[in-house]
Symmetry: C2
Subunit: 254 residues, 2 copies
């Protein structure tokens, strides 16, 4: 009964998100369907981050246990042969029997891409938030740094989102202009609330437009009130970049 | 009756190509529909390159004449408001009344992208030809240079393709590895036969795979026989990058 950790990339456009839903195609559903074919029985797949509809992944992590003895390289090939081209398994490795992609994750990194030009490139339409007009990226960068550290992120949490605690630790939060048209926000932390990255991005864009000062973000954070923050940025611009684990969470094998 | 030259970008996936067809959506058809709405009458649009189904453009050029007096900036905005997000007008400029995007073009540059890695990125699936396995890019580069100059390109011409002459001048033909996974071929010339860039690419990949030597390309060229060349590379990897005009072809205005 080998347990595997896989790393995968997907284009989130057209999917209902990571998690199985009553209707529509989910990433989890596609993976479980592919593994049922491969293993001849139902296989449960746990993902590190439950990305929402339209959100992309460059390095999502997931775990599952198979009945069949099979090499990691064969898992990659067999899954990719059964998955649509919009979902690709990049790597597979043996993991300890108690590996859990979500509870075992030490840190996650998300990237949010803002297209800051009058005309949106047709090749970027599913992968950015289109924000034309002047954006003061220096102010946005100053504000972004204010979410670093341990905070109660209630103000940056989906309304109605359920969770044990709204406290999270953000290790790094940086935004910069990559070229004349593209601004990229990157944030790493131990965990994220639902919509947290997208609401922080929406708040940073309010500041970039000059409607608010960078210091406003500190007030929003302190308010613990979702109504105080900026809008939720669209799903299309968000990418789960990578998931990190402690070496001992991955060591061993069956 | 102002005449305009526009520059446009489009994601060719899902279109039947530049030219209007009996069925399916064409770029030309979309532009003419948008301009009919704008000008209140039928407007004929001539494109510089008649890209095939699935082929993309970063800098296609097109020309048309309107009845209505309107500023170039307003043409950009009005067209983009009426076009799908997969087609974007990047710029518009007044042009002489006799401007013709196709016959007036002095040079065109095409780019072909080859994804040379075991696993195809889900974000690249519509924008590359996926060629896993080792490719000898040095041999491909040596062969690519052999098409530079004036040649009869019959061997690199779609079977049944009709044209006045199969002689063309290639100013530059270069291929290089951009990173560990991506190989890019770029070719510029006064004009191209149908499928010419894709058949040259298919021939270069045969050489890259070690099935043929770079010198083989010289033989294929001399044969003037399509059957001697490599396969036609898929449309998805091809981009019309830019179209150049002599300054006097664009000077003036109405």
């Amino acid at each position: 009964m080998p347990t595997f950790k896989i790393t995968l990339a997907y284009d989130g456009a057209g999917f209902v998100g990571w998690q199985r839903q009553a209707s529509g195609t989910s990433i989890q559903g596609l993976l479980e369907d592919a593994l049922r074919e491969l293993d001849g029985r139902d296989v449960a797949v746990a993902g590190a981050g439950r990305t929402d509809a339209g959100v992309h992944a460059l390095g999502q992590a997931a775990g599952f246990t198979l009945a069949r003895e099979i090499e990691p390289e064969a898992v990659v090939r067999a899954m990719n042969a059964r998955l649509p081209e919009s979902v690709r398994v990049l790597a597979a490795a043996l993991a300890p029997a108690d590996f859990h992609a979500r509870f075992g994750a030490r840190a996650k990194t998300y990237r949010y891409r803002v297209w800051n030009d009058e005309v949106l490139s047709p090749f970027e339409r599913d992968y950015v938030w289109h924000v034309p007009g002047t954006l003061d990226v220096e102010s946005m960068a100053a504000a972004a740094r204010l979410v670093e550290g341990r905070h109660d992120f209630s103000a940056f949490h989906a309304v109605g989102g359920a969770t044990r605690t709204t406290e999270r630790v953000v290790a790094s939060s940086r935004i910069a202009r990559v070229d004349a048209r593209l601004i990229v926000f990157e944030i790493s932390g131990s965990g994220f609330l639902r919509y947290m990255v997208r609401i922080i991005t929406g708040t940073l864009v309010e500041i970039g437009r000059g409607r608010r000062s960078p210091e406003w973000l500190r007030e929003v954070l302190a308010s613990r009130d979702r109504a105080q923050a900026g809008p939720t940025a669209p799903a299309a611009g968000l990418f789960l970049v990578s998931v990190d684990y402690d070496a001992d969470a991955l060591a061993g094998g069956p």
